[in-house]
Structure formats: C-alpha cells, structure tokens
C-alpha cells in the first residue's frame, strides 16, 4: 500500500507528458499555420536603419504549395516598382525581373540568405520551407509567458543538411493556437543576431494571422517591420501563375 502515492505520482507525470505535445509536433503545427495552402496579400515593409534612415516599401505577395512557391511584386517606391521575385522550391530557385530592361535573372541559391531590398528579411524568410523538418532537430526546453500568453519554448539546432546562416534558433509558440510569438536567431559565432516578433494576431478565414511582424538585427541595430494590409486565403493561383511568363506581367 505504501507504493500507491508513488504510482499516482508516476501516473501524474506520465499523464502530463501525454498532454504536452512533443517539440516536433508543435513545430509541425506552427509550420502548417504559417504556410497555408495558398494566399494573396499586400504588405508594407518599413526598414529602419541604425543611423535612423527609414524606407517604406509596398509589395504584393502570392504563395502556393504551402509556401513552397512565392511571387513577390513591388508596388512602391517608384525606384523598385514592378521589380518581381519568383521563388520556387523553398527559395532554392530564385528569379528576379527588372521591368525597365525586361530582363529576368536567375539568382544562385547563395543569395537566398541575403537581405531583400536592404531589409532585415532575406529571401528564405519569404518562402516557407521544410527547414524545420530537415535542417533542425527541435527540443522543448520549457514554458514561458509572453504578453500574458503561455508559450512553449523550443530550441532548434541545425542538422548537417542545414544551409542557412543560423545553427540555433529559439522559438516561443503560443500554446492556445500554435502561433509563433517570438524567434531568436543565433549565428555561427553563437551570438544572438536577430529577433523576430509576431504581433496583432487575428483569426482570418480560420487561420491565426500575425498582421504585423518585426525583425530586429541585434548586431547592426537595424529593424524591419512588415504589416499586412490585406490577405486572402481563399485565393487559388491560376495555372501557370508561378512562372517566368507571369514574372514579366
């Protein structure tokens, strides 16, 4: 009889372990949330440099195949108006179109980790990816509270197949709906390089959507904010939409 409390404790621990999804499952749910089947959105991007200069850009973004195909077309300012990027296969293949010369240029994948239009976002940030699945092992390292929301704190460490610049990423995922609220990116020197926050989360067409995202470079002290002006998850791409033909339209 004296072993009964121990059994109850073990049962309690086992049950609580069953309630807590494992890190991989959390990350998979988060990835599904971030990458709906397809979408069409208009966004603004405001870049604030360390010296206080500011640039505001507006673009239309179209995604399909759960974010594996992305087309990004700039509307303003005039200096980049019409400039378009087509990213396929999780930004492994990138084409850029310059309207004044009508030239299409294929970019090497070495450029996918480069800043887009001087912002703190790079090409791979715009494309969803299988990177959480293939490039990182994930571990649940605890719970946290961010803005009164209970979050899972997950640490992602690179696998040998990782080709992006961050060997370690720490994520905070809201427990109520798997929305990511915060991500810390650590570079190869082990330094905390970037912080990404997801704000103003609203449910649109049943999908929790961060209407504002903010990326801060902790080493260069630059910041980029992205705001969703309009988003449509019911949009489906017409045949041939993610093609060089449409890049030039």
């Amino acid at each position: 009889m004296k072993n009964i409390p121990i059994l109850f404790c073990l049962l309690g621990v086992w049950l609580s372990a069953q309630e807590q999804p494992d890190a991989r499952e959390i990350v998979n749910q988060m990835t599904r949330l971030l990458n709906p089947a397809s979408s069409r959105s208009t966004m603004t991007q405001t870049i604030q440099t360390s010296s206080g200069q500011q640039r505001t850009l507006e673009f239309d973004m179209y995604t399909a195949d759960s974010g594996r195909s992305v087309l990004l077309r700039y509307n303003r300012p005039t200096s980049v108006k019409g400039q378009t990027f087509l990213m396929l296969n999780n930004a492994e293949d990138i084409w850029t179109y310059f309207p004044r010369t009508r030239r299409v240029r294929k970019l090497a994948s070495s450029s996918k980790n480069q800043k887009v239009q001087g912002s703190d976002f790079n090409f791979s940030d715009f494309s969803s990816s299988d990177m959480w699945e293939s490039d990182y092992t994930v571990h649940l390292v605890g719970d946290s509270v961010i803005h009164k929301d209970r979050c899972w704190k997950i640490e992602a460490r690179e696998t040998p197949s990782n080709d992006n610049d961050y060997p370690r990423i720490v994520l905070f995922v809201r427990q109520t709906d798997y929305s990511p609220l915060l991500m810390w990116y650590f570079n190869r020197d082990g330094r905390h390089e970037k912080t990404m926050t997801f704000n103003h989360i609203e449910t649109i067409d049943g999908i929790p959507t961060a209407k504002a995202m903010h990326m801060r470079n902790e080493l260069e002290f630059s910041e980029t904010s992205m705001e969703v002006i309009d988003i449509d998850y019911h949009w489906t791409p017409p045949p041939g939409f993610f093609s060089e033909r449409n890049l030039k339209k």
Partner: protein
Amino acid sequence: MNPASKRCLVGLTLLSLVSAQVDWFGYLESEWDRLAMNAREYNFGYLKYRLDMESRPTDRVLVAANVNFQQYLGETTWNLLDFLPGPIWKPELQPSTLPDSLWVTEYPFTYHDTLYLDNAYLRVNFNHLDVTLGKQPVSLGTGYAWNPVDIFNYKNPVDPTYEQTGIQALRLDVPLTDRGGLTAILTPAGGWDSATKYIQWKSGIGSFDFTLNWSQYEGVYRWWDYVLYAGLAPTTTRYRAVGGTLVGELFGVGVWTEVWRKTQAAFDKKEFWEAVAGADYTFSNGWYVLNEVYRNEQGALPEAVTLYDYLFYFNGSTHSLMQTYDFFYTFYPVGDFVNAGIFALANLDDHSALVSPQIEWNLYENGTLTLWYSTSLGKADTEFGWQGDGWRLRLRTYF
C-alpha cells in the same frame, strides 16, 4: 520620330486615356564626367528626364510608353581622333606620303540635345500566347557584361545594367511550361529578307535554365580591305546564327554561359564564334563576387588592329574590339544602403585593363547616387592603356 511612330504614340496614348487610368512615373538623372587624357581635361555630362506611362485597360492588356529628354552639358563637340591611339589612325589619316597640309587632324562629332520616343508598345496576353507590338525593350541572354545571343542591343561592359533603348518589333511568346516556351521576334525592314527574324526556345532541367536560339539578320560586313584599298563603303550582309544559353548553379555558385555561331549568307560564308561564361557567388556577409570571360572571333587580333576595327566596334557592329576579355566585379555592403565595389575590364589580347572602384548610395527611397573612378593599365597603344583617368557622378531621382 517618323510620322508612323507619332501616329502610333498618339493612338496608344489616346487609347490608354480613354480606356483606363494611366500610371505616370519616371526619373530625372544627372551625370557629371571628368576625363583626363592626352594632357587634356574634358568635363561633360547630361541631364536626362524620362517620363513613363502605363495603362492596363484590362487584365490582359498593357499599354506602355516612355519619352526621354536628354540635354548635354559641358563639352558637347568631340574629336573622335582624341579617343583613338595615335599609332592606330595616324598611318591612315596622316601618311608620310602626303604633305602635312593634307593630313586629317580631326573627325568631329557633336552630341545634340534630344527628345525621343524610347518605348511605345502594346502587349496582349491570350491564354496560350503573348503578343507585344511596338518599340519595346528586348533583352536576351544570361551574361552580365556581354550577351552574344542578343543581336538587338550592344551593352557597354563599363555600365552593363544601364537600360537600352527599345526595339521596333513584333514579339510572340508561347508559354509551353512554367519555366519556358517559344519566343519569336520579328523586326520590320524594307523586305522579308532584310527583316530580323529571331526564335528562342527556353526550358529548364533541375536548377538549370537553358535556351536554344536561332536568328537571321543583317549586319555590317567587315569589308575593310575593300574599303581601304578600293574605296568601297562598308556593306551589309545577312547572317544566319545559332546558339544557346545555360544558367544555373553548381555547389551554390551561380554559373552561366552563352554560345553564338554566326555564318555569313554571302561573300566567303565565313563563320564567327562568340561565347561568354561566368560565375558569381554571394557570401553570407553580403560580399558579392562575379567573373565573366568573353571570346569574340569577330574581334581584331592585337597585332593587326586597324582604325576600321575601332570604327566597326564603335558603330556597334561587333560586341568587342578584340577577341578575348575578362570582366570582374565585386561589391560589399559597407553601410546602410551603401555598396562599395570595384570592377575590372581586361583585354586579354593586348594586356590592357580598365579598373574602376565605385560607390552606390541609396540616398533616399527614390534616389540613388553613384560615384565611379576609373584608371587604366597597359601600354600606350593598347585598347585601355592609352585612356586616362576619369570620374563620374550620377544622381537619379525617381518620381
């Protein structure tokens, strides 16, 4: 502008005005240049105003046009002979067999202020066909500094990304897959035989895109022996050409190549090969490196280069003066919206080069400022070696 072009422009403008809202935009560009050469200094530049209009009466139709006004500043009348190495032109124009009084000492040309219709075209997208008609930008090939397969434009390797003036053409694009299709370009001429016909088939395999290209067009025939000795004017000849392009990546390095073989349809049916191959890479800190090697069999050999080879090159009849070149370009983002770079253009035949450090600064959302300095290396009678030092400042403001 000829009357037909004027009618076309008026028609397009009226069509766009009545059928949809017109989007007006453009830029103002100002450039100042300073060149020190042959113990002389030249100061010159221009003010360019480009006004674009675009209208989309329906989702399937685009009407676009732009006019450029360019006003030249400073030195506007030039002596062509100042820009050629003396040993190249003196034997032709100042032969020792003639008295000094009969020597040619100058070949002047003047830049006049211009207002011209740069582009004016209509594009209609059908389900399985895109039709573009009018004066339009045409850009072919994968190379950065040179595009052998692009017979419509002649890039300046010193400023290879600068926009080119439009080409009067009918262009048909038939998409066959998401990554490619068939393109046919026809430029008008006096007759079908003298019209330029161009066909390109594009496709992709893995991370590579490739094209196969064919063309028949008229070009200037290199007839200099006859010009020189029999007093004939350069004549045109029809060329048939085939080639292809390839672009992709190997181990993260961007690679591309273009090959073009053209054959004269008449005379001695001589063949010329032209090819370019390049690679680029972007390091994780943003440092970008590009190198391109170019070979043009239609260029002159260094031991046999003549005044007429220079003229042949200057009038755009060939993509290079000599045969083998290397282009190297690198830049690094040194600060907020500032790139510092350097390019080198080397003539591997006569061992001369042009080296140019440059800074590009995105001053504000719609403004860029670029500063170049260039210096030359090589012997005094080489393509680049005789050139002096130069500065260029370019400011562009979009609206």
